[in-house]
């Protein structure tokens, strides 16, 4: 489809881009900047509404195939828009953004939303690289947004360095893949590989190099080392965003690469991801156990969650893939909800230590209950959304008879429950230091409510989402 025709299907992204530029412009003339956030919110909501209302049933290779709208990318497009909407709400609730820079923050968030969708809609190596760099570059900036905070600087810098090395490595892998197959189109790569049948060892090296970049994006061990530091140092709303947004889209790309371009190597990569999955969840969970900083705990938790999602890839069967999509949606909502609560609490206590959650249940029962529900969902306890995601990926693994992985994951789930409940314990079982109820900014309440209701609804009626996920598996 040519560029002009394509624009008709590019409206949600256009809305975001226009919103971004509009904010950048308005920012110059406006002293109070808060309303710009609401403007951004309006933009993302509008984009979301439009995207949700116009779901094309077939595959649309927009812009000469550089932006593919298919059920798969639609799923991630809507996920991305939800993520970015909630992130803007979080940013609105967060205290600590330098007032001067607020406008740019919302603009960047609007832009990064576009970047996320690009990632999901990329079907060739070029667009994959560009969109990843798009999101990464914006993320580097966002992570360092509170530039007077040493931690924020450091997070940003580490993210940049690690991200750039990973990107360069990935690019090197891409170049080899290009050389081995003569194509940058995922379809072309598949055809080339299917044709030759004999997959040389260099292909494996290329694949490994490529996976470095993708694994960096989804923070799979051992390419996760940046994640805890960055999530801890970045401003909380950004940290929340980073744990879900780029990760979710990273999975989207990974799925496309694996299932479109590299089905010929399925044996190789499925066992590779089985190992990475086990390693990732184990590392994430075990490291999380001894954390005392809530953001850091959530950072490791999000690493572990990536490990669970990888189980679906290791399984590489229908239910596992449905599980991945389902898991990503559920996990995104839950984690964003949890970070929202962290914002609320940290706004007041100024401390990110878990001890600042002490007795929260008495001070602000609703907030505490919400966080408890989020953690229960993350721990995979029914009947909440997180549970069903976990069941599906477990199911995928079991169907493939990867018993060892299943057992490792089971043990990990128990370990995970321990640290999630460490926080729950702090909220419910420990006496509060004071009885001042936490301040509840409206955007935070809204974000929490969205997350809460969504995960409860998905938990009790998982069928629609599952249905959607299974329908979205058409690349």
């Amino acid at each position: 489809m040519n560029a002009v025709q394509s624009l008709a299907h590019f409206i949600p992204e256009s809305i975001l881009i226009v919103t971004g530029f509009l904010i950048l412009v308005l920012d110059l003339f406006s002293k109070p900047k808060r309303w710009l956030g609401w403007l951004a919110l309006a933009g993302t909501t509008g984009a979301l509404a439009y995207a949700a209302a116009t779901i094309p049933g077939n595959t649309l290779p927009l812009f000469y195939g550089y932006f593919t709208i298919d059920p798969f990318s639609v799923f991630f497009r809507i996920t991305a828009l939800v993520i970015i909407t909630v992130t803007i709400l979080m940013a609105l609730a967060h205290k600590g953004t330098p007032p001067k820079q607020e406008g740019e923050l919302y603009a960047l968030l609007a832009f990064i939303g576009t970047g996320l969708i690009l990632m999901a809609a990329s079907t060739n190596l070029l667009m994959i690289f560009i969109s990843i760099e798009f999101v990464s570059l914006t993320s580097y900036i966002l992570a360092g947004f509170e530039k007077h905070e040493g931690a924020s600087n450091e997070a940003s810098l580490k993210y940049l360095l690690f991200g750039s090395v990973a990107s360069a490595t990935m690019l090197y892998g891409m170049s080899l893949l290009f050389g081995l197959t003569g194509s940058v189109e995922l379809n072309g790569i598949r055809d080339a590989l299917a044709g030759c049948g004999n997959t040389g060892p260099l292909l494996l090296i290329a694949m490994a190099l490529l996976f470095v970049g993708l694994s960096f994006k989804i923070s799979a061990a051992p390419f996760h080392m940046w994640a805890p530091d960055v999530y801890t140092g970045a401003p909380t709303p950004i940290a929340g965003f980073l744990t879900v947004g780029p990760k979710a889209m990273g999975f989207a790309i990974l799925l496309r690469v694996l299932f479109i371009a590299l089905p010929a190597l399925q044996k190789e990569w499925s066992s590779l991801f089985a190992v990475l999955s086990a390693l990732t969840m184990t590392v994430g969970n075990i490291a999380a156990v001894s954390q005392t900083n809530i953001k850091r705990l959530l950072a490791y938790s999000s690493i572990a969650q990536a490990g669970y999602i990888l189980m679906g890839i290791a399984a590489a069967n229908a239910i596992g893939l449905e599980g991945i999509l389902f898991y990503i949606a559920a996990y995104a909502l839950t984690n964003l909800g949890a970070f929202t609560i962290v914002i609320v609490v940290v706004n007041q206590s100024k401390s990110e230590e878990i001890s600042s959650f002490a007795g929260l249940a008495k001070r602000s029962p609703f907030i505490a209950a919400s966080l408890a529900v989020f953690f229960v969902s993350l721990a995979g306890i029914p009947p909440l959304a997180g549970y069903f995601g976990k069941v599906l990926v477990f199911a995928g693994v079991i169907e493939q008879k990867l018993v060892a992985l299943a057992v490792i994951a089971a043990v990990n789930s128990a370990i995970a429950a321990f640290y999630y409940f460490k926080v729950v314990k702090e909220m419910y079982l420990t006496e509060p230091a004071d009885s001042v109820p936490a301040e509840r900014p409206f955007p935070a309440v809204l974000a929490t409510a969205i997350a809460f209701l969504a995960i409860a609804a998905i938990g009790i009626f998982p069928a629609p989402l599952l249905h959607w996920a299974s329908r979205s598996l058409i690349f």
């Binding site: 040493g150 450091e154 050389g179 194509s183 530091d229 850091r296």
Partner: protein
């Protein structure tokens, strides 16, 4: 005429890549690390162009890819230096070993 064998380009780029990676791993200075990254990107670029020329049915693919890579590298350099600058303002250091308040 016999063109230069493709493998020679690949090996050349491999070495360049390795040297760049080595630099990122060992330079104490953040700017040094960034330089290493540039070398790695260039290595990839050589590959892309070489393969584009030798293998791809669409010989422009690699070149255009490289153009985008170079632009993105420039963007990354800009952002990276901005971050380094912000860092330097706060912490008065650009030594990688001093950047470790975030750990564990």
């Amino acid at each position: 005429m016999t063109p230069i064998p493709l493998n020679h380009f690949v090996i050349f780029s491999l070495f360049l890549f390795s040297i760049g990676l080595y630099g990122t791993l060992t330079r104490r200075n953040v700017i040094g690390i960034l330089m290493g990254i540039e070398l790695m990107l260039n290595a990839a670029n050589i590959n892309l162009i070489a393969f584009s020329r030798y293998i791809s049915p669409n010989p422009e693919t690699g070149q255009i890819f490289v153009i985008f890579v170079i632009v993105l590298a420039a963007c990354a350099a800009a952002v990276g230096l901005a971050i380094v600058l912000a860092m330097y303002q706060n912490r008065k250091t650009v030594q990688a070993e001093d950047i470790h308040i975030l750990k564990w």
